[in-house]
Symmetry: C2
Subunit: 209 residues, 2 copies
């Protein structure tokens, strides 16, 4: 008998983990054997964290961020600047921007980007919800912080056209060289963006264009 698979329970764990992003069959096998000898509490915590996830986590009615309260912690926080909305593709992008510690405004999650190949058009994104937040004159600036790829660019272009008539200031994240990188290894598009978007190196002359 050539035994190519494990007995039921181990194979079930391997199969379930192999379906997760970034985990292959070898990694899943390693995890299964790790769990087999791991502390009971750790295994129980892992299983219950997964079960609780879908029950507890909702999406914020205002910004679309993941949250356990509605509205989310950011939308409810009176210290956040209500005059600026930063538009991102996914909830995890909010975490990335929060980690910079440089932004104190609100967010709006689109839930993706325009992608004709995957049949995702403007109507599949939370664009109507964004427009609803722009009534009145609370919002002074919209920062488009989409991924710097084809889909993100297409969505940025679409939103700039849609939002420009409203007379609200629309900005986008700067493209350029990543900090700590090497000019030699920069691709020509990134280097081109860094060149056209060059800043005055004299800090005293840099205030307002």
């Amino acid at each position: 008998m050539s035994l190519m698979m494990y007995d039921g329970a181990i194979q079930n764990v391997i199969d379930a983990f192999t379906q997760l992003p970034g985990i292959g069959p070898k990694g899943a096998q390693r995890i299964a054997f790790y769990l087999l000898t791991a502390d009971e509490t750790q295994v129980a915590t892992l299983a219950s964290s997964i079960t609780n996830l879908k029950e507890k986590v909702k999406f914020c009615n205002i910004c679309g961020n993941v949250t356990e309260t509605n509205p989310c912690l950011i939308c409810r926080d009176p210290r956040r600047d209500k005059s600026t909305i930063c538009v991102v593709e996914e909830p995890k992008d909010i975490m990335s921007i929060e980690r910079t510690g440089l932004y104190g405004g609100e967010y709006h999650v689109l839930g993706g980007a325009i992608n004709p190949m995957s049949d995702i058009g403007p109507n599949d994104l939370r664009i109507r919800e964004l427009l609803n937040r722009l009534h009145g004159d609370t919002v002074q600036e919209i920062i488009l912080a989409l991924d710097p790829n084809i889909e993100g660019e297409a969505t940025t272009t679409y939103l700039v056209r849609l939002l420009s008539p409203l007379g609200i200031k629309i900005t986008r994240l700067a493209s350029g060289l990543p900090v700590g990188s090497d000019l030699e290894y920069a691709d020509e598009i990134t280097l081109g963006r860094a060149l056209t978007g060059r800043l005055n190196a004299n800090p005293y002359a840099n205030a307002e264009e």
Copy 2:
């Protein structure tokens, strides 16, 4: 407010997955968001596979392999050759050897290798259980299939000394160039082993030394 962590349930999943081998915080975040939008059934299957693992999986009383029945499927299989025992470090090594499709004998899992740095000596391995299987003259050959690293070599040397007096044939896996590799990139120890262990290239002259 600078929000550096997610709300409870998402952060719990990220924390639990970050503790697994081969998964970092970014990979765990990716999995958490994947699970958030994944099919209910898939998420439930993942959680229950983890819960069932420890309950159902035992170790075979004879060979030490992971199993849901005792003895395990291999030890119970009458078609397996009882005269040969292949000694491995971990249950997952059995799967690797089974995948070759070239072995029809039995196995014995040591549960690790001798490693003074981690305070693992011969008494921490299933060596007494191995000796118990060698009573009578059923077993004709013991194949030592330990990892080709320092700990595996130390354990192999120890077992050769221990088992030699029993008069049973003791063999070990061949060291040499991995198939599909390049001579130029082989390390000198592997290449040295391939050289000293060279085989007669004439298949008709290769039968028995």
